[in-house]
Symmetry: D2
Subunit: 168 residues, 4 copies
């Protein structure tokens, strides 16, 4: 059964939140769509949305990851969803897994921007919020309807999907 | 961690799958959108989609519910998602809870048809598929980002949301 | 070349503006989407939007049609687009054609509500606004990319399209 | 009144037809969406769609423009719509105006790709097809609900809109 407690959503950017700038014809970040997506999903979860950064995950540095770890530690909530670009999601997941104890953290993202109609973002957000309510403490990636522990996942860049990968 | 086994999806209709008939200006059922929604969500889950009926849940009879119970029993899978109209979802959930043992069954639906743009359907399907992978055997309703045991939920018809309701 | 003068848009309802009431599961009217559609089309036309009524055109009475004629007469503009349900669009067009002189009036509508994603509404509005800028005074129906004089059109109800029909 | 004759649609690419490549996270061209858009608009016009090129209009060379002129000349139809990137649409329009006689040619495009939900493309296509049916021979740009002769238009790049510009 779902646990009825507040969930923190940390926004870091990624494809999820990219938009199309019609003046310059380029993709860019304006603001997060997470609140709009929760409204679309008629979510009645108690959530606290916190935007940490709005960047492409290819630009994410160690310093950025340190600030994500800090935000997870400082959060009053024990259940945290992080929206993140898919390109380096597994790196951030492993950094978090090594640094955090006692919290359930689920990273998710999208292959296509939420605003572009054909996005997987709403599906992924729904699944991430469900996984974060039910899984034991640990760090996970929720993509493609599945959920992977941080140390057993890799992005297959050719296929654009996440897969199991055992690590010793 | 998500269990890696096949999930059965039983389709019964509901708002989820309603479409607009442009010749007659009325809502109607054609075929289920579940496969299209899984493709949109880039789902890589192993699922078996089975359409049992395509009806408004206000028209669901005891006989219909018996056939849903039978379909759950006959299913090779121990994890089952049922798409269902919201109006009588709690009744079907209780019927299933009284009749089934040893399977994890999650009912979900939508307040707005998937095809109408402003639908919560994709969010709900994502969350239902996550809950069904992680919850212990039992019957649940996944709506509004939350998950309720069959005997502790009611639809608030004025607000159009699902709420906790303890039953003795 | 397009005439650069103000255009009046008279809103009467029709499928165009129908929405889905998620509490009751029925189609209904709330407010017109014409302004939102013009914004989506990045329209820079000078328009005046006036809502006369919000009804299904099957419910349109002689009195309603008289008020539409009056609104066209009183309008300062000589170019008028009317959004209208498709079921009786030809009747209103003929009423207007018999009663008005010296103005270019184009009726348009949609087979599917604008809010439902698969709507022809935006295409029709774009074409109606172009036809109204370029056609000589008279009353016309703009649907299916085409434009018909009021006395030479009928809706083919089986196919859901508008066709030429000569009247003697 | 609309002329009932076949219209040729020449596709050259532009924002109109851009898509999002979810593997590489970049915009790209696959194939034209014009046929899909006409179906959405329930168009019953007799059209012939011909793809000349699929390029960003910033990459359009004199040679490309010569091939567009040739395609207009060879077309059996006297009414032609050209889909085109907005950045150099006015240049192509002037090239066509200097080289063609006796045909009505309307260029149109979009500020946001058709596939991205918030696109003006369907509105523009509807208006371009209406203008091409009603205007006298000449070359025009149809954008923002308006229609400009080729020698009296410029794109305001800061605002992303087309404006009147008289040329001596």
């Amino acid at each position: 059964m779902a646990v009825r407690e507040r969930i923190r959503i940390l926004v870091t950017g990624g494809t999820f939140d990219k938009e199309y700038n019609e003046i310059h014809g380029r993709l860019f970040f304006k603001q997060s769509h997470v609140a709009e997506m929760l409204a679309l999903g008629r979510s009645k979860l108690q959530v606290e949305i916190q935007t940490l950064m709005m960047i492409d995950s290819l630009e994410m540095t160690d310093q950025h990851r340190t600030s994500i770890v800090e935000a997870c530690r400082k959060a009053r909530e024990d259940r945290i969803v992080i929206t993140h670009g898919t390109d380096t999601m597994e790196t951030t997941a492993r950094t978090l897994a090594a640094a955090l104890k006692g919290k359930t953290v689920v990273l998710t993202g999208a292959m296509v921007p939420y605003k572009f109609g054909s996005s997987d973002g709403l599906f992924n957000l729904g699944s991430a919020l469900a996984f974060v309510q039910t899984l034991a403490p640990g760090v996970y990636i929720a993509m493609n309807g599945r959920c992977f522990p941080a140390n057993r996942v890799r992005k297959n860049r050719d296929a654009g999907i996440f897969e199991d990968e055992s690590r010793s």
